[in-house]
């Protein structure tokens, strides 16, 4: 979906790899919107997010798999990057966890500053969510 030979897409890809906070927006079973700011990994084709097992977003996704992701940092509205997609809740034995080397490398500094470890996060945030993008929204002003 992103063509990194294209300068604009390469910029989006770079921000998705380097930014640390993303909003995941879902819809509650009663139809109200829900937002959460989370850590995430973008591998070039999919997003991975790790959640505690029974959070509101997980309950929402069981009912409605549509999500919008948005990088938290908008550069004061000048560089808004959003992604529409579909979420899958991965099984515990999927092998995808917060100990993924790419995730550990990305959040190494934050794990250390929080006095946490990838293993501790993997135990607590045991529900892996994989999001497949359907549309990238990044208007150029």
């Amino acid at each position: 979906m992103l063509d990194v030979k294209n300068a604009r897409d390469a910029h989006i890809d770079e921000r998705l790899r380097s930014n640390t906070m993303i909003w995941i927006n879902t819809v509650r079973p009663d139809g109200r919107p829900h937002s959460a700011a989370v850590w995430f990994l973008w591998d070039g084709s999919k997003f991975f997010i790790f959640s505690m097992p029974n959070t509101q977003k997980v309950r929402n996704l069981r009912q409605n798999t549509n999500v919008v992701l948005a990088l938290d940092d908008t550069k004061n509205g000048d560089d808004v990057i959003q992604v529409e997609g579909k979420a899958d809740l991965l099984e515990n034995n999927s092998g995808v966890s917060a100990t993924l080397p790419a995730f550990v490398a990305k959040y190494d500094r934050m794990f250390k500053s929080m006095g946490s470890t990838p293993e501790a996060m993997a135990a607590e945030y045991s529900q892996a969510i994989r999001i497949t993008p359907t549309k990238f929204l990044a208007p150029v002003e």
Partner: protein, 141 residues
């Protein structure tokens, strides 16, 4: 809802008055989430935003007035402020982007975009008032 005698709430109030961008989450008629960063004015009790008549957020709100607002975390995630609320589309010609409180808040940003409050008032003609029903915050020490 915010108790300004509490340092944490006073800090949130200060951020709501000074920050320029807030995320607005709504739900589309087909049940998918929608998200957009918007300019806003917090008056201590409600949020005022201005929309263009054909914006998707307005169409969504006609169908479902439930919203979530979220302040940017500046890619840090250590100061999250979320506000659940109900939106009302207003028919009040006195509410315009030329209102001094609004025009002053966004004077610098408008200037940087080559906009004026008067020009904006011809485009962003639809005032929307959001009344908070719940504040959710964490990470404010």
């Amino acid at each position: 809802m915010l108790d300004l005698a509490q340092p944490k709430d006073a800090h949130i109030e200060q951020r709501l008055r000074s920050e320029l961008i807030i995320w607005l989450s709504t739900v589309r008629p087909d049940g998918r989430p929608h998200l957009v960063p918007v300019w806003f004015l917090w008056d201590g009790a409600t949020f005022l935003i201005f929309s263009q008549p054909k914006d998707l957020k307005l169409r969504n709100l006609r169908h479902n007035p439930d919203v979530v607002l979220a302040l940017e975390t500046r890619d840090q995630g250590n100061e999250v402020v979320l506000i659940e609320g109900k939106a009302a589309l207003l028919d009040d010609p006195t509410l315009k982007t030329t209102m001094p409180t609004y025009a002053e808040k966004y004077a610098e940003l408008m200037k940087s975009m080559g906009w004026t409050a008067e020009w904006m008032a011809t485009r962003y003609t639809e005032p929307v008032r959001i009344t908070p029903t719940r504040f959710i915050s964490w990470g404010h020490e």
